[in-house]
């Protein structure tokens, strides 16, 4: 029944490994860039606030496919930006991570901003009364509490990101979706089985993440 799964010919595990790598690198990158963006959006400097708002609104309303294809055709093939990659596989992977980070960071930023909203005003007022500066109020008092309250939304961002890594197939990164495209074209008599295998792969990737982080979010939630 599973004859079509010729692992010599189709590198199934390798493809899912690329998917996982895309997700992990992009998650770390978008967590950092998203936090910086959230900091900008609540900062006392109007120019930074404006930049943060504009960036989030523009990126959130652009299809991820456009971001990634533009990174490949525009950045790489037209402007020759290679991000230090040597062969086309490496360059494609790095461009995909860049695009995923640029896109996903906006959702991290919005999640964090709503987390900042849950921190009681008294916390920041007390911190200011102690003479802390804006950066200290944000990094020592507000953000740690905000992070603890947005684990569940961030888990949803991470799950959406894991699913969004398939968009990297549009610029030829050899991850799961691209392998599935190849396989259902070659093994056209067992398309339901092929689809089930890949669907199962993604369920395995996303379901435990959701359960684990759901548990974490209950553990770390600030009890008020």
């Amino acid at each position: 029944m599973f004859d079509f799964l010729d692992l010599e010919r189709y590198d199934l595990l390798g493809a899912f490994w690329v998917t996982v790598q895309l997700a992990v690198y992009s998650a770390v990158g978008s967590l950092i860039w998203g936090t910086v963006l959230a900091g900008m959006r609540v900062s006392p400097v109007p120019l930074m606030r404006g930049f943060g708002t504009a960036y989030v609104n523009i990126m959130r309303n652009t299809p991820l496919t456009v971001v990634l294809v533009a990174a490949s055709l525009g950045l790489y093939q037209t402007l020759s930006v290679t991000l230090g990659g040597e062969d086309s596989d490496q360059i494609g992977f790095r461009l995909a991570v860049l695009g995923l980070v640029a896109y996903t960071a906006t959702f991290v930023c919005e999640a964090l901003r709503s987390g900042i909203n849950t921190v009681p005003v008294g916390q920041a007022e007390a911190a200011r009364a102690l003479g802390l500066s804006f950066t200290q109020v944000l990094t020592l008092i507000v953000l740690p509490q905000a992070f603890r309250s947005v684990v569940a939304p961030l888990a949803n961002v991470l799950i959406a990101l894991t699913k969004n890594t398939t968009v990297a197939a549009t610029i030829g990164v050899s991850e799961a979706a691209l392998l599935m495209k190849e396989m259902i074209e070659n093994e056209s008599d067992v398309i339901f089985l092929v689809f089930s295998v890949f669907a199962f792969g993604f369920v395995v990737l996303t379901l435990p993440t959701g359960l684990l982080l759901g548990w974490v979010s209950k553990r770390v939630a600030v009890k008020r």
Partner: protein, 320 residues
């Protein structure tokens, strides 16, 4: 913490000077990045007038490529939402059923299709149509895109519907029972009509997600939507890749921005409404999980409630 200025004091002379310094530094960084981008573009001859002017001067770029592409994007999105709505409503109501033999399988279907990337569904649908049906190959990409979008979004809408119905006060069901309504009547005459008001913002936000996802069909299935027109434009107007992407992205951003604004307007109206419960279903940030902000923890819907976001407002992030 709706007024974020609580994070910092009213700036005095020193703070104002520091803020100016940060502004200047930030401008310098922004300037350097823009200069690098423009310089690289100029290097590769992407700033030349003939690459950008067609979009202003030559109406054929619009009539032959961009507008038909935009039309296809809208067509796929509209078909997807129209077909997904009834399915989603059925799945959402089915998941709320008192009979476990209905609610459990429906729940499994919903969770399954939500866990799978929409691109996999589109690729599979495309191949399935090619193998199993005699849908003509010209129209097959549209079929595949719409099928993938419907399967995925029906399950998302199911969750929105479920959250919308659960957001209603329990007294509504009790009252309907008290006057002798059957379960089906309660759902169709009492619960659903009220839930629709609470669900509308989330449904419009979902349209943004659908519009964005149509671009996948253009990139991998040969569906002639807006993004796929970049290649035809660059082939006809002298490799103006950057210009073509800029225009296409702007069109997407404009379209989605209009939808997002409409969704937040609807949300504001639903919250202020005195007729509804004041509860609003919005989408959770960055994902497709519906979140209900009940009147108790969000801005109150009643006349006594003040404006502004209350703490614990689950519906702050509006769209995906």
């Amino acid at each position: 913490m709706s007024d974020l200025s609580v994070l910092y004091d009213v700036p005095g002379p020193r703070a104002r000077r520091r803020n100016w310094l940060y502004t200047v530094l930030f401008l310098v960084v922004l300037g350097l990045v823009s200069w690098w981008v423009l310089d690289t573009m100029a290097d590769k001859n992407q700033l030349a007038g003939e690459k950008w002017l067609p979009f202003v001067e030559d109406s054929r770029v619009w009539t032959t490529f961009l507008l038909p592409g935009l039309l296809n994007t809208l067509k796929a999105a509209a078909l997807a939402i129209v077909i997904a709505l009834p399915f989603g409503a059925l799945l959402g109501i089915g998941r709320l059923s008192d009979h476990r033999w209905i609610s459990v399988p429906v729940g499994a279907v919903v969770e399954f299709f939500r866990a799978i990337p929409v691109l996999l569904l589109m690729l599979f649908a495309n191949e399935a149509y090619a193998q199993l049906t005699d849908v003509e190959s010209e129209i097959r990409p549209l079929y595949a895109v719409v099928t993938g979008l419907v399967l995925y979004n029906a399950s998302v809408i199911a969750e929105v519907v479920r959250a919308g119905i659960l957001s209603l006060p329990h007294g509504q069901t009790d009252a309907a029972k008290a006057i002798g309504m059957r379960k089906g009547q309660t759902m169709s005459y009492v619960l659903l009509p009220q839930a629709v008001t609470a669900m509308l913002p989330a449904l419009v936000s979902q349209l943004v997600v659908i519009v964005k996802d149509t671009a996948l069909g253009g990139a991998l299935l040969g569906f002639a939507e807006l993004l796929s027109r970049v290649r035809s434009i660059t082939a006809n107007y002298g490799a103006n890749t950057i210009a073509a992407f800029t225009v296409v992205a702007l069109l997407f951003i404009l379209l989605n921005f209009l939808l997002t604004t409409f969704a937040s307007w609807l949300e504001g109206r639903a919250r202020r409404s005195r007729r509804g419960s004041g509860a609003v279903v919005t989408e959770d940030i960055g994902s497709d999980v519906a979140v209900v902000s009940a009147p108790g923890d969000g801005p109150a819907g009643g006349p006594g409630g003040g404006p502004g976001d209350g703490p614990g407002d689950g519906g702050v992030g509006k769209t995906h």
